[in-house]
Amino acid sequence: MAVSLDTNLFWLSFWLYLAAFVFFSIFAAARTRGIGVTATVMFLGAFALHTAGLAARWVISTHPPFSTMYEYALTMSWAVALAFIFIMARFRRMILGVVVSPVLIIVLVMASLLPKEASKQLMPALHSYWFYIHVTLAAVAEGAFIVAAGAGIVYLVRRKREAESELMPSHDLLEEIISRALRIGYPLFTIGALFAGSIWAQTAWGSFWSWDPKETGSLVIWLFYTLLLHQNVRGRWRGKMLAAMSIVGFGIAILSFLGNLFLGGMHAYTGA
């Protein structure tokens, strides 16, 4: 089967993200600004290709690229890359790239293992504007959770290597990045994955909630982040604990994401 344009663009962006990661790593070790700028430019280039790949996929499949797990992974990783670019522009910390880019690569590696065939025909249940609301918000929310986890890793690494952390953002700034990412992800996840998902399920399947494995997974993710934010507001899970828990949350989100491959249920069609 001929490789389509979107797949070519995907692979190009993947290799460029990988190159950016290598340069970010060298930047972290050598602390040469030029290398950091090169890594950033590579990352921006990879993001442009990633965006073009998604656009091509949209044109080829004639629907927004959310209907398969491959497309969902691409969209989610795109949201992560966009969030990273925003954070880099806002806080001027190129060093975060050394953590965000590998996380992004992990998601893209998972995407690369999934079937990539573009289907022009959406199954009847997906013919709804709720589909776009539900999946877009969930993908962006999970992207934000990934950014929080990435910043959490930097936070923990910084604690261990306090002496050599001049390039690293301060603890307060990292905590703010984690906190902001969670506070972007949580409402989007609540509205997109749970509220919009339930309303759509009622319209398509006749019930708001069916305890489908994917639904349960979303509930587990939501409860975890609810717990995390309550503890954070209470002043309990701050700093190191917040960082660690944001990584745990990411783990649960990935488990739910991968669950589609083997859990079955009403969301199983997204595995194709």
Binding site: S119, Q121, W205
Partner: protein
């Protein structure tokens, strides 16, 4: 923010308890999630097999804890009930605090209270400003500007506060103040919609939980499988009947299903049509408090509606078509050959035990026919999409299946959930609440102005690093505003 000391009665509905209950619900949901993957849903039907596999104790445990359907088990319902009760009590007792927390601004009681704050800045009229506080915030020594330890202007306090309040208003802060002992104590806040948003969100979640509970007791769901033209009683009672006037499956060229639509009529006891319309996925039909959903479809895997077969008589210039219906023999005109339709396979496959239909979708329709010529009868299969594989009969006739219309059954779900309005209200409140909560960034600044000093402290913020930066800018802005009052 650190928790305030609680009154004795508040322990039962404390934030701590709320967190514990959320943690329990999280743990129970995660356990249920895992259980649904480990324990098959058909455990009860195949109990004997699992008894052998897991032993008596294991099987008993699964049965006792209802691990094959954990989310309808007593333990999960108990956790849900606990969550609901604590949540309800929490909202009932804390609603005022939840709503007013960020709306209420209270000026500080004294400057010392502010000086303890990490994000405090002190501006003094004194020419020298030493001590611990001086090393901390960006102190602006008005003494340097004025050359005096105390402002000589008796109205300076009021004027200074007016300047500060105007400056903070320009930054989006709302300020309140009180005067005491020649000093002005003020508080300025922004992002004040956070608390009402927080309350609305909690109210929304409560409504959704309540809707779930009400729905689980009052809602019902039923399925009807109806073939085109058939009339069946409409659940939940037999007051009305449902007739499927038409059922259509639309496919792409690649035979992928695009859409499937049932056109239905609702009939009263006398058989008169009282309502009707089309039902398709994502477009349910409402009737008398019920909703009809296009749930699925199936094909009768034994029979068919109608088939057309082209024939050609070998050795004779005779061609034609015959229409076959189930169970009816058709004689080929001018011959003694009789064609009788047999079994129908919508998705033909040949298995070790003979032919079968692999699915209910007509992907590979096949019709079994019997060809009788005198005393001899032959049987064979005719394939719609693969005519080359059709049976070559010894009888001098070639048959080609050119059309075959299966009997489709439309699967309609009929359900009612009286709690739907509560759930929709919950979604609405929750969404508004979340928008208010997360679009507002609450920050509070408190300060004291007297004839000797101005103390400003950031007392509430969500993001310390950004707030510190903002507070620095505000300090600089205040310095400029006050410096302009000197001129």
């Amino acid at each position: 923010m650190a928790e305030q000391p609680k009154r004795s009665g508040e322990h039962f509905i404390s934030q701590r308890l709320a967190v514990i209950v959320i943690a329990i619900l999280f743990g129970a949901s995660a356990a249920g999630w895992l259980a649904t993957e480990l324990v098959p849903a058909n455990f009860i039907e195949k109990k004997g097999m699992y008894l052998e596999r897991w032993g008596a104790a294991g099987s008993r445990l699964v049965e006792l804890l209802r691990l094959y359907d954990p989310f309808h088990s007593f333990w999960y319902r108990a956790v849900l009930a606990l969550f609901f009760v604590v949540f309800l009590l929490c909202l009932l007792t804390r609603w005022r605090q939840l709503i007013l927390k960020s709306l209420r601004l209270e000026p500080p009681r004294g400057a010392d209270e502010l000086r303890k704050n990490k994000l405090a800045m002190e501006y003094t009229w004194h020419s020298t400003f030493g001590g611990e506080r001086g090393a901390r915030g960006p102190a602006i020594r008005y003494g340097d500007l004025l050359g005096k330890s105390q402002t000589p202007d008796p109205d300076a306090v009021a004027k200074s506060f007016a300047k500060i309040a105007a400056y903070l208003r320009g930054k989006g802060y709302r300020a309140v103040h009180r005067e005491a002992d020649g000093a002005i104590y003020f508080a300025a806040g922004t992002g004040r919609w956070r608390s009402p948003g927080n309350f609305l969100f909690h109210l929304g979640i409560l409504a959704i939980t309540l809707g779930g509970v009400v729905g689980s007791f009052t809602g019902w769901k039923d399925f009807v499988y109806v073939r085109e033209g058939q009339t069946v009683p409409l659940p939940p009672d037999s007051v009305f009947s449902l007739r499927v006037d038409d059922f259509e499956i639309m496919t792409t060229k690649e035979m992928e299903v695009k859409e499937y639509v049932s056109t239905v009529s609702i009939l009263d006891r006398a058989g008169a049509r009282v309502a009707g319309g089309s039902v398709q996925v994502n477009r349910p039909m409402k009737f008398g408090g019920r909703r009809l959903y296009q749930s699925q479809y199936s094909v009768d895997e034994t029979s068919f509606k109608y088939a057309r077969v082209d024939y050609a008589l070998r050795g004779r210039i005779r061609r034609g078509s015959i229409d076959l219906t189930p169970g009816a023999d058709v004689r080929i005109t001018g011959t003694s050959i009789v064609v009788t339709p047999g079994r129908f396979f919508p998705d033909f496959r040949m298995g070790s035990e003979g032919p079968y239909s692999a699915s209910g979708f007509p992907s590979n329709p096949c019709l079994e026919v019997a060809v009788k010529n005198g005393d001899e009868t032959e049987r064979g299969y005719l394939f719609l999409y693969h005519p080359d594989f059709s049976k070559k009969f010894l009888t001098p006739i070639d048959l080609v299946l050119v059309h075959c219309e299966p009997i489709f059954y439309t699967g309609l779900e009929v359900s009612s959930n009286p709690a739907s309005p509560i759930l929709f209200l919950g979604f609405l409140l929750g969404t508004i609440g979340l928008a208010l909560m997360y679009l507002s960034n609450p920050r509070t600044i408190k300060g004291v102005v007297d004839r000797e000093t101005l103390v400003i402290a950031g007392t509430e913020c969500r993001w310390k690093a950004s707030f510190e930066k903002e507070l620095g800018e505000i300090g600089e802005g205040v310095r400029r505003a006050l410096a302009s009052s000197k001129e």
